[in-house]
């Protein structure tokens, strides 16, 4: 009986490589996750509601950048078919176009200032600011009328301050490109220079509108430096998922008013481009400034 | 700051002394200023101001002292209790009358116009009365014969809110005590 030596034991078994299987498993998980969250389940079946665009008044456009050409014309030379038909339809070699001015800087585009376009839209700031100070010489004027004027002026100042803030905010927000330019919301033939605000500014305005706080609730001396921060999480449908007042001001009245404002803001009137988590700082700087 | 204060105080004191001694000086600049301004501001109102005659001495006033025929009242400038040259002249006359009627006890009433803080005006009226009293005493009248009382803006001589009415109301009156 001849004996044939067998090769060494180690190489005999060729067990499958566990690492590869781990990778496979991981891939499977990622795929499953993607399938579940990516909206293949049920979501796509929901029929999209018909969208009507009615341009009656200036309502904040949720995402005025929609339809806007890519902010980087240098990397992707794009023809601008939407813009001024009179201009040559495509001139990709021109690096800087003084006419069509598709600006690489978003702020210029989005700041709600009146564009020179001959559109029927009214100017964004129709504030007829009466700079008239309370006239000290007219003795006949009644105190009440004066109060009224002052009240109105205060409101005016507040509104102005608010508008300014909004503009600044949307500017900064867009500069940071928080709302990507390719979100499919906005005007159907948007050019990116409509009067409007970004989603963030829109949410800000909404919460602010719901925030009711009388300065008479507070110690007047505290108005300048009172502040609280709250974290709000909105789902894409505009629903307030969760909120927390992270750093309360310590003033009961102030914090209560915030809670009321947030409770009232539990459902945005429109959806958002995506889920949004916000850290909102509440303070009274504008009031304090108006007082001064 | 301190030096300034002292300077101011000493100036005012000097001025007072001057007034009491009787040098005829022009009224101080600030005074002029006040006067001018007030007059200007109230030009428009003068027309509608009530007639001077209308505002007779209030009947319901405290019925205690009687006016003395020989004692004339003196007038002051706004927010001032210094004696003008005119006032000093009248006081001189009054002193003569008092010397002549030796038994007469008088009370000097200090009054102010309706403008200003009531509490402050009470004090101002008091100071006006006291200024008049001190001047009379300096003219040799026995201090015991003279008492003072301030009515502030409570007993205006004439009612009305005109510069004329106010000028009439900023006064010190001399009344006999029974």
């Amino acid at each position: 009986m001849s004996v044939v030596p067998l090769h060494s034991n180690n190489a005999f078994h060729q067990d499958p490589k566990f690492g590869r299987l781990l990778l496979l498993s991981l891939i499977v998980h990622v795929v499953v996750w993607a399938v579940f969250t990516g909206g293949w389940f049920g979501v796509s079946q929901r029929p999209k509601p018909p969208v009507y665009y009615v341009d009656l008044i200036h309502k904040p456009v949720l995402n005025p950048q929609a339809g806007r050409p890519e902010p980087r014309p240098a990397s992707k030379p794009k023809p601008e078919p939407v813009k001024s038909a009179a201009v040559t339809p495509s001139a990709p070699k021109e690096p800087a176009k003084p006419v069509a001015k598709i600006p690489p800087k978003p702020p210029e585009v989005v700041v709600p200032k009146p564009t020179p376009k001959p559109e029927p839209k009214p100017a964004a700031k129709p504030v007829p600011k009466p700079a008239a100070e309370p006239d000290r010489r007219t003795e006949q004027k009644l105190q009440n009328a004066l109060d009224e004027i002052r009240e109105r002026q205060k409101h005016e100042a507040e509104r102005d301050a608010l508008k300014e803030r909004l503009a600044k905010l949307s500017e900064s927000v867009n500069a940071a490109a928080t709302v990507p330019a390719d979100v499919p919301v906005g005007m159907p033939d948007g050019q990116g220079n409509e009067v409007g605000v970004s989603a963030l500014a829109f949410v800000q305005a909404f919460i602010q509108q719901n925030w009711v706080l009388s300065p008479y609730l507070l110690d007047q001396s505290r108005i300048a430096n009172i502040e609280a921060k709250a974290t709000l999480a909105y789902s894409a449908s505009g629903k307030l998922v969760r909120f927390r007042i992270n750093s309360p001001s310590g003033n009961q009245q102030f914090d209560d008013s915030l809670k009321r404002a947030i409770t009232k803001s539990d459902q945005l009137p429109q959806g958002l481009p995506k889920d949004l988590e916000l850290v909102v700082t509440f303070n009274l700087k504008d009031i304090a400034a108006a007082r001064r | 700051m301190k030096v300034m204060q002292m300077l101011k105080v000493s100036m005012v004191v000097l001025f007072l002394c001057g007034g009491l001694i009787g040098c005829s000086t022009t009224p101080p600049v600030t005074q002029m200023d006040d006067q001018a301004k007030v007059t200007q501001a109230d030009m428009s109102q003068q027309a509608e101001a009530k007639g001077v005659d209308e505002g007779a001495v209030k009947s319901e006033a405290v019925p205690s002292h009687d006016a003395v025929a020989g004692l004339e009242r003196i007038y002051f400038d706004f927010d001032q209790f210094t004696l003008s040259a005119d006032a000093r002249r009248i006081l001189g006359e009054n002193a003569k009358y008092l010397n002549a009627n030796n038994g007469l006890q008088v009370v000097i009433e200090g009054h102010c116009d309706e403008r200003g803080s009531d509490e402050y005006n009470l004090a101002l009226g008091e100071s006006r009365a006291l200024a008049a009293k001190n001047y009379l005493v300096s003219l040799g009248i026995d201090a015991k014969r003279i008492s003072v009382i301030s009515y502030g803006e409570e007993k205006p001589l004439v009612s009305g809110s005109s510069e004329e009415a106010w000028a009439q109301n900023r006064r010190a009156e001399f009344k006999a005590v029974h």
Binding site: E158, V212, R260, T281 | E154
Partner: protein, 432 residues
């Protein structure tokens, strides 16, 4: 191998964390600066209906809460059916209905009338959070209905601001309705005036004792401006200081043991401290000029007063213990009638500017001066409400001098007394 998985897993978990980075926004003014309030008519619960009771409650609450400046009233015409129901429990109130109207707070109430006996139930609800903020049941007689409403207005302010309102307090003032300037007392809305003195002389300068039980005033009843004190409830009256010359502008110290008083017994109006029987304790000021019109700081350690020691009348602050005085006002040529607010941070005073007096406030360190009134006419003699929210003053802008009240920032001025007679020298009591 294992290290690789770890790295992979860490990368996986880092992904959602990085997505989380929250955006920040700042809201630096509320969208609305007055709280929308729905004030419903009080409804009869048991017993007969009385339109007068309901109307009176409504009127008082409306006036008081409007004065506070906190609220914007939701138009009652817009009220829905919940306003007509006596539903005073938070689970009975139809909150969505009210929220639809834009209201954030709601006042509901009922009353029961049996003869002269009146029971009023009043409730304040938070509409957003759907809860009861405060409520009270008042039992009394029909004539007390205004007091009940004032008390509830105080409570509303307490529930919303943490500090009680001043509406249950009273205002003393001088009025010549009877032909002589006499001391009167009225509610903070100008209603229910009562005459306290019958001196038929000249009564001036009232001031409440810190606990509100007594009033100090000056009267010429004895042919000299003497200081009197009067117990409000018993009507007892005593002549406190009757030195020759002025005994005016008496102000009781917060400890109720000392009275600051302007005396001219030494030939010049100066401020003294006297005890409650009138004995002089200390002389606070000593100079050639006029010193008058003291106003205590709430802690009783300092005193604001008027002095013309530097030429024109200005407000000074003196330390009671050292007697050292420092000038507070620097602007203008005529500043007078200082009133230190109960909170202790501001002093109201009058200033003559362009021949007219207006009310100003200034911080006690001389900064942050603010003009509150802008004519026409003269606004004088400011006094603070016990919560420092309001200022009462006299003004002749509509003819005769009358008492007005406004918020501490100069807004919301309203007249309290009629124009038929001359009313002035208001003084606001503490809460009682």
């Amino acid at each position: 191998m294992f290290v690789r998985w770890i790295v992979l897993l860490v990368a996986c978990c880092a992904l959602p964390w990085s997505v989380r980075a929250a955006t920040e926004i700042e809201i630096s003014a509320p969208g609305e600066q007055s709280i929308p309030l729905a004030l419903t008519q009080f409804l009869p619960d048991q017993g007969p209906q009385s339109a007068r009771v309901a109307a009176e409650i409504n009127e008082v609450l409306n006036a008081d809460l409007d004065l506070s400046g906190l609220f914007r009233f939701v138009d009652p015409a817009a009220f829905l059916d919940d306003a007509g129901r006596i539903s005073l429990l938070s689970n009975q109130v139809n909150f969505p209905q009210w929220r639809m109207l834009g209201a954030e707070t709601l006042i509901k109430g009922s009353y029961s009338l049996t003869g002269e006996q009146l029971v009023v139930e009043a409730r304040l609800f938070d509409i957003v959070n759907r809860r009861l903020l405060t409520g009270r049941r008042y039992v009394g007689e029909v004539k007390d209905v205004r007091r009940m409403a004032h008390a509830f207005a105080d409570l509303v302010l307490k529930a919303l601001t943490g500090e009680e309102g001043p509406f249950s307090s009273r205002i003393a003032y001088i009025s010549n309705q009877t032909g002589h300037p006499e001391l009167w007392l009225m509610d903070v809305d100008g209603k229910r005036p009562i005459r306290l003195t019958d001196h038929r002389s000249i009564v001036l300068n009232p001031d409440f004792s810190p606990r509100g039980k007594e009033i100090l005033f000056t009267s010429y009843r004895a042919n000299n401006p003497d200081l009197y004190r009067k117990e409000i409830y018993s009507g007892k009256e005593a002549r406190l200081s009757y030195r020759p010359g002025l005994n005016v502008a008496g102000r009781m110290a917060p400890n109720e043991r000392e009275i600051a008083l302007t005396l001219s017994k030494d030939g010049n109006p100066e401020i003294y401290l006297v005890d409650i029987s009138g004995r002089v304790l200390k002389r606070i000021t000593d100079n050639w000029g006029i010193d008058s019109d003291p106003s205590w700081s709430p802690d009783g350690s300092r005193m604001a007063f008027v002095s013309n020691r530097q030429g024109n009348p200005h407000i000074f602050i003196a330390d009671i213990f050292t007697g050292k005085a420092e000038r507070l006002t620097t602007q203008g040529k005529y500043n007078a009638t200082p009133a230190w607010n109960p909170k202790g941070d501001r002093i109201a005073f009058t200033r003559q500017e362009g021949g007219r007096f207006d009310i100003y406030t200034i911080k006690t360190d001389g900064t942050d001066e603010r003009r509150l009134t802008f004519g026409p006419g003269n606004s004088e003699h400011p006094r603070w409400s016990p919560d420092s929210r309001f200022i009462v003053y006299s003004s002749d802008k509509s003819g005769n001098r009358a008492i007005y009240v406004m918020r501490a920032d100069g807004t919301g001025a309203r007249r309290l007394t009629t124009l038929e007679s001359d009313s002035r020298h208001p003084a606001w009591s503490t809460r009682w």
